[in-house]
């Protein structure tokens, strides 16, 4: 991510201050207009007024589900200062567990401009009346941990955190909690269990966290990128935020592209840029000699799309209409020389490994799918394996599992069975993998996935 002169706080609010080699100190961040949103919220606006602005802005969650942020916050019970029924604490938790393969946007925001997240948490916590806030950070993001802690320490020393923030009667404590590597902790109720020191299995909903979350108290969990929008919306207004995007989904989005493209990376663009523009203009198109075969538009747990979908805008509604999900906005590109069966096997193996084991369809279904896919990729697939996989997709679909991890695994699998049917069929018919240049799965010797025509896999 590079920021150029044409990028300003008005066009690239989230990233124009990103500096990955040396993030801005508190003083520098303030000089660039930072903490103005927090100042305005705390000194001039009531929590209800902030909430109204956020609701009006149409901001939707950037953590994957796209839930309207204002609506989420409005479910938190509010109390007068002297209300005896008020809970002892309310919590704001920033979901910085970012472990979905193909997703790496939050890392840039935390490493590149940590004060923006701190400021956003002050405003958000104020709005829902939280007095304690946690950043739940994945354990592998060591640099983020260090830089966030530095920013938090600076914020405490300048009274942006702690008691009576900037002379108001609002208090907030903010802590970083680092996890130890488990994807399911990103699911918001599993995250709450993890923060409580329990084994991180998801909880049943209802009750929703806004009513009964961390330690049984009202809790809001929001994604890093969602939160980072807040100071800018407060500073520049809901109308400004809406007009950033030509589509119905407001604001900008940090899009990612990975796979064998010319220049993989991250870009903050108006919400609703087309897949074509993202892939060909920003990511430079396919690497030399490769053709586009398919793509996952929003991380590992979204349905495949095809080259015919290139003109679809990358916003929540349009991607849904095309049959997938915007998810985290991380495009994963499949080229014509990587085997789609091997790709799906890699994805499903991830979900099988990260399944928390709580419910049977997922605990048993995901490894079963891995077993079948391994067989097919190795040229030992049977004709009814494809039906078996389709059945598994049904068994693990929405409503049949305790959380959304298993349905997330189904999305790439089910769509691959449909779009890459020929490839699956060829593996079975020929008894080998037709992609001689593709990469076999780890754990198998590279020549186990028998390539057609006697060529070993590279």
């Amino acid at each position: 991510m590079t920021n150029s002169a044409s990028q300003s706080s008005m066009t690239h609010p989230l990233t124009h201050l990103v500096n990955l080699s040396q993030p801005l100190s508190l003083t520098e961040y303030i000089r660039e207009g930072g903490y103005q949103g927090a100042k305005k919220a705390l000194q001039e606006l009531t929590p209800a007024e902030v909430l109204a602005i956020i609701s009006d802005s149409s901001l939707k969650g950037r953590g994957g589900a796209g839930f309207p942020t204002g609506m989420k916050w409005s479910c938190v019970p509010m109390f007068e200062a002297d209300d005896v029924n008020a809970p002892e604490h309310k919590y704001l938790v920033c979901n910085a567990d970012e472990m979905e393969p193909g997703t790496f946007k939050d890392r840039m925001l935390m490493e590149g401009v940590p004060h923006q997240l701190v400021e956003s948490m002050i405003i958000s916590a104020y709005t829902i009346g939280a007095d304690k806030a946690y950043i739940f950070l994945r354990g592998e993001y060591h640099l983020s941990a260090k830089r966030l802690q530095q920013a938090i320490d600076e914020a405490y020393s300048e009274n942006w955190l702690g008691k009576n923030i900037q002379g108001t009667n609002y208090h907030l404590e903010l802590y970083v909690h680092t996890s130890a590597g488990r994807y399911i902790c990103g699911e918001e109720t599993a995250l709450i269990n993890a923060l409580e020191g329990k084994r991180a299995t998801p909880r049943a909903k209802p009750p929703f966290p806004q009513v009964s979350g961390l330690f049984g108290k009202p809790t809001v969990v929001n994604n890093v990128e969602t939160l980072c929008n807040i100071p800018h919306i407060i500073k520049n207004g809901a109308q400004w935020f809406k007009q950033l995007s030509p589509e119905s989904d407001a604001g900008t989005k940090i899009y990612a592209v990975c796979g064998r493209v010319k220049t993989p990376g991250l870009w903050e663009l108006p919400m609703g840029v087309t897949i074509r523009e993202l892939l060909y203009q920003h990511a430079g198109g396919m690497a030399d000699g490769l053709k586009l075969k398919g793509l996952l538009p929003g991380g590992a747990s979204t349905d495949f799309l095809l080259p015919e979908h290139l003109d679809t805008p990358m916003d929540f509604d349009s991607i849904s209409k095309a049959g997938s999900r915007l998810g985290t906005g991380g495009l994963i590109v499949l080229d014509d020389q990587n085997c789609p069966v091997a790709m799906v096997l890699n994805l499903i193996r991830f979900f099988a490994q990260e399944s928390c084991g709580w419910c049977t369809p997922c605990r048993d279904g995901t490894p079963w799918a891995v077993e079948i896919l391994t067989r097919i990729e190795n040229g030992q697939g049977k004709q009814n394996d494809l039906d078996e996989l389709a059945n598994l997709c049904d068994f693990m679909w929405l409503g049949k599992t305790h959380c959304a991890l298993a349905p997330g695994a189904v999305e790439p699998l089910k769509s691959a069975l449909r779009y890459f049917q020929d490839d699956f069929q060829q593996h079975i018919d020929k008894g080998c993998c037709p992609y001689t240049g593709s990469h076999s799965q780890s754990g198998l010797a590279s020549n186990v996935a028998q390539a057609c025509g006697g060529h070993a896999h590279g």
């Binding site: 592998e140 993989p264 080229d335």
Partner: protein, 194 residues
């Protein structure tokens, strides 16, 4: 009939004062003692390299929870080691972007160079090899993490050069020794292939 021997343990005789202080700090920012579980495990692992049964029991006692509950937490996470590991734990990303970019060759080169497979430690106790899910460097795939360092844009040659660098510096002063976790600076080291 089987006789089950119970062991009485006093965490104060097992954990160091420093460990206890650090754990109590984590307890102080949470509502309950048990919620410091994962941080406590990480603290002790930082000082001792891994979590033995004795460590686990001592932490559970300090946090006033059952060992079984803490074990349920400890075994849940990829980054808590319940077996001794080498001085450098190699976490190589095997998720989708690294897959599409061919981490398999890099992995094979590491296995061959060190003569170990996943889950094994070299005879000299220097390296343990583990896999990791997406390390958040998908645009710079393939990626691995050793200690607090992320190594990106890997090739087989580059990975071997990184390991050799660590082998050579094992007795000397490693620039920014990655074992010194008090310095959490995760500078991204670029190794030039010549």
């Amino acid at each position: 009939m089987q006789i089950i021997k119970t062991v009485t343990l006093d965490y104060r005789q097992y954990l160091t004062e420093k460990e206890i202080l650090e754990i109590e700090h984590e307890v102080s920012i949470m509502e309950t003692r048990e919620s410091a579980g994962i941080e406590a495990l990480k603290i002790v692992q930082h000082h001792r390299g891994w979590i033995s049964d004795e460590s686990l029991n001592a932490i559970a006692q300090l946090l006033a929870i059952s060992s079984a509950q803490l074990e349920g937490v400890a075994t849940f996470y990829n980054l808590i080691y319940r077996q001794p590991v080498g001085r450098y734990v190699i976490h190589i990303c095997d998720s989708i972007s690294c897959h599409l970019l061919g981490y398999q060759q890099v992995l094979q080169a590491i296995k061959t160079h060190l003569g170990i497979d996943y889950g094994q430690t070299t005879a000299d106790g220097l390296f343990t090899l583990l896999s990791n899910v997406c390390l958040g460097g998908c645009d710079k795939a393939p990626v691995m993490m050793i200690g607090q360092q992320h190594y990106e844009h890997l090739t087989s040659e580059k990975a071997v050069a990184i390991l050799n660098g660590l082998i050579q510096s094992k007795d000397g002063n490693l620039p920014g020794d990655i074992l010194d976790k008090t310095d959490v600076g995760a500078t991204i080291v670029e190794v030039k292939n010549d």
